[in-house]
Point group: C2
Chain length 196, copies 2
């Protein structure tokens, strides 16, 4: 899709995300980012204070993308199984559509200073708590088997988060198709009764 | 458990594994490793040629630990569902019992030179192919639903590999208990008929 209004700052974030993903945060220099953008290194400082500042912005962006959806789904008037299905489907598609960004989010947050690292970890914990509440609601309603909710939540997230290790936009299946296969596997593993 | 015969070389590999996990390969210097062992940096070169040589040894060790089990399970005279159950259980326990080593294996292989990186990737591909064959056998025998075997294999590996992000040896559950919960979720997601 054409994105005619990509600002210089968005371009900078995109190039930095790709480089942090490919080379790792520590192996990427401001010079690499300037080269990727085709500008002089000095001009980067018009947009950002430092490489760390750039990382902070990227991680905040990733946290926002993942975080807003889960709250909307939890508040919706839906049975727990439907909520979980939507949450997993959404999570998987987001992972694959923002592959580089989520990958940097998952692996490079430890390079932030303590306070910012805590903020990112708080966002992740909130996300996990909502998933656990959906699982608990589903067990209470009899839709799900009485599983260990914490382990199950971590297992499910793992199944979807791991896509950042293998998903390729050039592969045979779209993010939506892959998300559907994995969500089906997860839901069948959880449901109490036999599934048609 | 006491390990009375830990050689100096084993200690070196252990310290390096822990540091590579905690700080990342690139952020760990030979000086850090020497400090961790309580020796002079120069004496490290008695055991290893370079930091990269050390990484190579660690990754070969991790590949060997994961790789030998899967072939034995595949060759055993067992129904496919039982083979998969054992393979997943084993994979999960190995992940959690060799947490630092597997974590370095999964994240730092890209720091190897091309030829060694290819060797590691070949070992991983072999492992994945055996899991796919077990899934195919189980579908052919009617034990498993007719799922997309490649996506399912990647989903299952993800569920277990992700433990390296969250498992703590100080947590409430042992690796065996966590492996049993996750394996149960996976098997129920896969089985064709209702499970007792």
């Amino acid at each position: 899709m054409a994105q005619p209004k990509t600002s210089r700052e968005d371009q900078l974030l995109e190039v930095a995300t790709r480089l942090f993903k490919e080379k790792g945060y520590h192996n990427t220099s401001m010079q690499d980012i300037a080269d990727g953008l085709g500008v002089q290194k000095a001009s980067l400082y018009y947009y950002i204070e430092s490489k760390e500042h750039l990382l902070r912005q990227l991680l905040r962006r990733a946290a926002a993308i993942l975080g807003t959806q889960i709250d909307e789904i939890y508040e919706a008037e839906l049975p727990p199984a439907e909520k979980l299905c939507q949450a997993l489907q959404n999570h998987a598609v987001t992972m694959m559509e923002h592959l580089n960004l989520v990958s940097v989010y998952l692996s490079e947050y430890r390079n932030l200073p303590p306070r910012q690292r805590e903020q990112i970890l708080d966002t992740r914990k909130h996300y996990e708590r909502v998933l656990i509440r959906i699982l608990e609601d589903g067990i209470a309603s009899g839709d799900f088997r009485p599983v260990n909710v914490k382990m199950t939540m971590l297992g499910l997230l793992g199944m979807f988060n791991w896509t950042h290790q293998w998903f390729s936009p050039d592969g045979e299946l779209s993010p939506q198709e892959i998300a559907a296969i994995l969500t089906d596997l997860a839901m069948r593993g959880l449901m109490a009764g036999p599934i048609a």
